[in-house]
Structures are given as C-alpha cells and as structure tokens.
C-alpha cells in the first residue's frame, strides 16, 4: 500500500515534517514488536493466523472511531462522547432496521446520525465557548440516556439476514471486512491530515489557536468540522460493530472511550495538540488491540486488564512529555 509506505518513511518524502516526530515514531513501533514477541512466547494461541484475524476484527471498529478522535485531539480538544455516540447510533440503527425497510441503507443513516451528533458537539463547543471536555461530558450523558431509552435497557438483535457480512465477511481472505474498511478509512485520514487544508488547519489550531485566529483562519468553523468528522466516523464504526455483534445492547461502546483515548495517545498524538496524526493512531490501536487480546489469552481478568491499560496510558503521556521537554531544553 503506497500510502503506508509514504507515511512510514516520511523524512525523504515530506520535507516539511519535523524530523523529531519521525524519530519518535519508532518507540510505539518497538512496543508493538515487544508485545508480539512477548505474547508469542507466553501463549500458544497468540501467533496463529486465526488469532491475527480475530485481532484485526476487534481492532477495526476501534481504529475507525479513533481516526476521528485523532483530528479532534490534534486540534487540542477532546471528544469524550465517542462511546455514547456509538451506543446511540447502534440503538437507533437497530430500531430502524427492524421497524422500517431501510435494509443496507442503514449504513448511510448511521453515518448521518453520527455526523449530526458530532455537529451538535461541535456547535456547543465552538459557539458556546465551553471547554470541549465539559461539552462532550454533557453530551456523553445526553446521548447515552437517549440511547438507553430507545433500547429500553435491553439488547436488541437486528433481523436482516446477511447484514453481518459487511463486518465479518472476508473480501480479502483472512481479513474481516470491518478491518478492511478501517484500513481504507485510515488511508483516507492520513491523506486528509497530510494533504488537505482541513488537515493542515487541525495542526495549526492545535499548535497555536490564537496565532491561527489572528491570521484569519476560521477557527470556530474548523472546530465544528472536526467534531462532525469525528461523529461521522464514529457512526460508521458503530454500525459495523452492530453488524459484527448481531445486536445492539446497553454495553456497546462502553470500553471505547478509554480505549480510543489510549490508542490515540499511545500512538503519539499529543493531548496538547499540534503534534502527531492519524498515521500514528494505527500503531496505537495495534498496541491496545494486541494488549487486549494477549492478556485475554493469558487469562488475565477483565479487572486487571483495566489496571494495565490505565498504566499504559499514563506511561505513554509521560514518555511523550519527556520528549517534548527534552526538545525544549535543548
């Protein structure tokens, strides 16, 4: 895949990218390698084609959701409502599938609902001048509440035979469609980040919002765009998750908030904004997915996994902070 080659070897091809960022890409890649080596050595079932297929299926939805979140964090904001958007989109689409004849068109409906919820976030954040942390904490509660009302607290299965194929079918052998979709979305997101005005503005707003505004960049509008894009991708991720699971239940999307933030930050996109990008998020998602899968195979309990993941996130932020401080001191 040419895009992948491009982003993984940027020094030659991107004269404008900063060399510091490129060197820092090796740390998360090394972590992936170490994790793979570790789990291969400690379990029999990890290093099998079957398991890699399973990992890519699990990682697919997470990657799609993380891509939108990456732009938001790149811009120096944060979207805490991704899990709630997944829950709402999943609930609404299952209802629509069962009550109307939308059929496969539900894909577009789900994307549209996600987009609207993201727009809602963005407008509250940009026009209400509320910190995104607070705005999306509020909508997290709103969206979850609405979704649980739709579901009436129960899990609902969809009755559209064959719909699950869009997630678990394998157009490419051994690669679930959900992972294929995620890789395509990732390639597009990398292009958007590195080759478009929208992408550049995300870096600029994250790097210096006041500077961007003083130079006439319509910061508010682009903030809304970023949240809308995050909502759109989250909506798509949600419907693929529903297809994969065969149902929408109250617990869908529950782990997504921590997992997506963890993946983005571990990948190397700074919570301070302006540094990182979607190309790094792929690696972050791999780390989180491999960690999940490997710990499960080792028989580590769900609760202990939560502890491990929390430690990983804090460590990732500490490491990236060290790097930034080092650059400044020098």
């Amino acid at each position: 895949m040419s895009v992948e080659a491009d982003t993984l070897s940027p020094p030659a091809r991107h004269p404008l990218r900063l060399p510091r960022l490129d060197k820092s890409l090796w740390l998360p890649i090394a972590v992936v390698a170490v994790l793979i080596a570790f789990f291969s050595a400690t379990t029999d079932s990890f290093a099998t084609l079957r398991n890699f297929t399973a990992i890519s299926g699990q990682a697919g939805a997470l990657l799609i959701v993380c891509l939108g979140g990456t732009f938001v964090i790149l811009m120096g904001s944060i979207d805490l409502s991704v899990g709630a958007i997944v829950l709402f989109v999943a609930a609404a689409s299952v209802k629509l599938l069962n009550l109307t004849g939308v059929g496969g068109g539900v894909l577009f409906v789900a994307a549209g609902i996600g987009l609207l919820l993201g727009l809602f976030n963005g407008v509250i954040y940009a026009y209400g001048r509320i910190p995104s942390f607070v705005a999306t904490l509020g909508t997290l509660s709103i969206f979850s509440g609405l979704a649980l009302q739709i579901l009436e607290g129960r899990a609902i299965q969809f009755d559209l035979p064959g719909f699950e194929e869009i997630a678990i079918g394998q157009l490419v052998p051994r690669l679930p469609n959900i992972a294929l979709c995620a890789l395509v979305a990732w390639a597009l997101a990398v292009l958007i980040a590195t080759r478009t005005r929208f992408g550049r503005y995300m870096y600029l707003i994250g790097g210096g919002e006041t500077v961007a505004r003083t130079a006439g960049i319509p910061v508010r509008r682009y903030k809304i765009y970023a949240f809308a894009l995050s909502g759109l991708l989250t909506g798509i991720g949600a419907i693929l998750m529903v297809a994969r699971l065969g149902a929408a239940g109250p617990s869908i999307g529950q782990e997504l908030l921590l997992n997506s933030l963890a993946a983005i930050v571990v990948g190397g996109t700074s919570l301070a904004g302006g540094v990182g990008g979607p190309h790094r998020t792929l690696i972050g998602v791999l780390i989180i997915a491999i960690l999940d899968n490997g710990l499960n195979l080792l028989g580590v309990t769900q609760y202990s996994q939560m502890i491990v993941k929390g430690v990983v996130v804090i460590a990732a932020v500490l490491v990236s902070r060290e790097r930034i401080l080092g650059a400044i001191v020098k």
Binding site: L16, R195, R197
Partner: protein, 548 residues
Amino acid sequence: MTTSGPLLPAAPGLLFEAEGLTKHYGPNPILQDVGFAVPRNKVVSFVGENGAGKSTLFNILSGIVAPDAGRMRIGGVAYQPRDYGEATRRGVARVFQEQSLILNVPVYENLLIGQEARFARLGQVLDRPAMIAAAERIIDDAGLDVDVRRRTGDYDFSKRQSIEIARACLAGIHLAAIDEPVVLLDEPTSALDRRDEEAFFRLVAKIRARGSLLFVSHRLTEVLDVSDVIYVLKDGRLVAELAPGGTSEADLHGYMVGRERAADYYYERRQRVLAPAAPVVLQARALAREGAFEPIDLAVRAGEIVGIGGLLDSGKSALGKAVAGVDPPTSGTVSLDGGPDAQPDIGRFVRQGLGYVPAERMAEGLIADASVAWNISLASGADLFSNILGVWRRRREIAIAEHYVRSLAIRSAAADVRAARLSGGNQQKAVLARWLCREPKVLVLDNPTRGVDAGAKEEIYRLVRDLADKGVAILLITDELLELIGLANRIIVLQRGRRVAEVPAPASAKPTERELVALMLPQSGRADGVPGPAVADPVDPNEPELAR
C-alpha cells in the same frame, strides 16, 4: 547558604558588583560577559535598544533567571539568588515593567506583601492596625498622597506605579532591616504623569541617600538627568560606560545602535511625499472599544505610513486589533480599499488584502513548533496554498517559503526548520513573509521590531519602505519613539484611549522625541486618582509649527 560566600576584600564604596554574566536562550546569546560595579549611593543606568538584553540582565539580578556563567556580589558577599524571594531578602528589590499590584485589596496589603509573617500574632491572626501603621510610614516616607486603607484599584495607573515604586524602595528598609537596598527600576516612569514624576524623582534622591539604584529607561533625557553612571548594552554586551556630564542623547544613541543615528537608519530619505490623489485604502469610522479606546476616525492612504503612538495604557494595541478585526470593536466600522463600511473581521479582511503582525510574537504571531514554511503559509491556506477541493499545494508552499527564506535572508538555512529555533529577528521576518506572499494592500504592524536585533531591525525598516513604495497602506503601532518618528508620514497620538493629537512627520521636518512625549503624557496634575482633562489639544494636521 547565601551569606556563606567567601568574604572578598570588599572594595570600599562598592555596593554591588557583577562580572562575566552570560546567558543564552537556545542558540541565541542574550548576554555576553557583562560586568559592572555599582558604587554606594549612586544611580546606575542601563540603556540599549529593545532586545539588547536589559530585561534579561534585570531578571538575573533579581533571581528570576539564573545566568549560564558569571558572578555577583553584594557588599562584597557572594550573591547567587535562586528566586525572587531570595533576592528580596538580600536587599534587591525590583519594580517591574508591568505592574504587579493586586487591584482588589487595600493598598497596605500590597505594600506589605510577602511581609505578613511580621504582623502575625498567635501564628495566624494578622495585626491589621500595625500593618496599616507600617504602610503609612512607607507612604509618608515616599511623600505620596495615598490612603493605605483604600482599594488599590481605586487609584489610577500612575498612582499605582508610584505605590509600586515606594514598595520596592522602602518596604525592605522599613521592615526587613535592610540597610542598603539595591533597587532595580525597569522603565518606571513610562506610565507616570508629570506630578507623580516629580514625586518619583524625590524618591530616587531619597533612596540614593541610603542605597543604590539600577535604572532602565528608554527616555534618554531622563537617564541623563538622574544617573551617576550610564552603561550602554548592545546585542547583549556592555559597549560603553559613560558619565552623564559631557554626554548627549545623540552620543547615547550612537552607542546603542553602534553608529550615529544617521537620518537614513529609518530610510527617511525614501519616505514618500504622498500625491493628494492617493486613494484612501483603510478607513475606520467611529471605531471604539469599551474600556480600551473611545471613538476614533482613521484613514490611511495607499503608500502612506501612519504611526500610532502612546503610553502603555493608551489603547494603541487594542486599536490595531480592532482595525484588523482580530478583536472586534464594540462599535464603529472599517472599510477596506473602498469597500463597504462594516464591522471589521480578520478572516474577511485577510481575503481582501489586509495583513496583521501582532506585538506578542510568541503568543499570537508564530507557532513555534511548526516549521518556517508552515508559518509562512499560515494565513493563505484558503487561497494560495490549497485548491478548490481543499487539497494542499505542497510544492508551491515549499517554493514560496524557500523564496522568502532567501529574499528576506531568514537565517535558518531551510524552510523546514522549526520556527522556535530561529532568533527573534528571523522569526519576525517569517511572520512578515506570511503577509508578503499575499501582496497585501494594507498592513497593520504592532511593534514589528520588538525583540529584534539591530541588524534585522534595519532590514525590516527597509522592507516597510519597499512596501510603502509599492502602494501598501501601513498602520504602524509602536512603543519605540524613534521608530515611530523615523518611519511614519504622520503620527496619531493616543492618551488613555483618546486621540489627542495628530503630528505630521515629513522627512524634512520630523518631530522630536520630546515633543511626542509631551503629547503622550497627561499634562495637568489630577486630584487623587481622578483622571483630569487632557490639556493637549488635537493638532491641526496642516499646522507646520509642531513639526518643527
């Protein structure tokens, strides 16, 4: 630990000594091997251009910044303060450029800040009557007319400045048993009006009888008046030690810029005589911003440089932001290039050909983490550097950035270097290139040479002249009087948000610093904190007398 330094044979009569003080920020040397001696009971002044290192020197003396190398002694005892608190305990007090008083507490609390422990009874309860009495002694000693029980914010800027000076000079003597204070005064008089200025000079005389003062000011006449010794800083080095007798302002200036201030430092010979038919490109009508400036009309013609001058509290920076639409005004309109009168908006104005260079380069002008190229293309993402589909034109971005790196001699070697690694002058050139590549019709420049070394300054002045030659209308807001006088075709003077004068400044008849300062300062004394009527009348722009 601070008093355990080796006791050197203290030179009698020397209160403070420094040798070899050196400081770098990143690759840029800010101070190099600065050494000087402050005799007892003397006023020692430091003059130099912006960016010459005066502030850094004072930061080192007051413990805010640690030097990379060098030694200091107070009264022969080694002095190496770790923070401002330690400096204060050793008898070094400082009046900052920006006021550091807390507005919503009584004056006496500000005067005794950091000294509360002396007034504590039973551990926590403060003995307020004792505090008030102590504060009153300080105020009386300073000869100020201030009620220490009143809220600090009730006094105006000038009075507050006097209070702050009194605190720095006298609190140590009265409370901390410091016999010989070293008082650092950083531009103390720029915000004082005439009456408080007299009180200030009385205070200086009083302090000099007990300790020593180190003084920084841009007002060279004042420096010559109060100093016993004058040191000139240039590009981080001390280049001259002068006695005020037999030294003139012109001499000082010569040392500061490294040459006599030739008339063409500001390229005055290239200043255009505007044709009466030159079109008005920027027209502001009744522009006002609550709390910053009152309704102002303003017109800049093609090829004209209009200067805006005034003290820190004059509202001139706020006016620049309002004209450019960065901080929209509360009322009033701006019309660009004959367009409709409308509420200014930076986004629209940039599309129509306006550029704005902010005064705070690191906070508003430049993204330090981004490359030079990214900073240059920053304002043109919507037209020059992306196509109709929003796809970024990377090749053009690199080509244009490299063009300006060469043509403006931005010494970063390449366009992909992080802007943070450039010196102030080169950073500012990158900010200017951001607008140059758009071929603007109007430029609003707020202190375009702040923190810029002398060489880059001259290049920026030449650039400004080039732009005026091309017919760009330029609104120049600056704290530097000489720059204001040298560059502008005419100068608008603001005083506390009011336009008080307009002074023509043709190349043949530039106004003097003294004339402008007189217009910037409120002329009449005022009753206790209440702003009085400004006496300076708006000057008829056609009246040639004022322009000497």
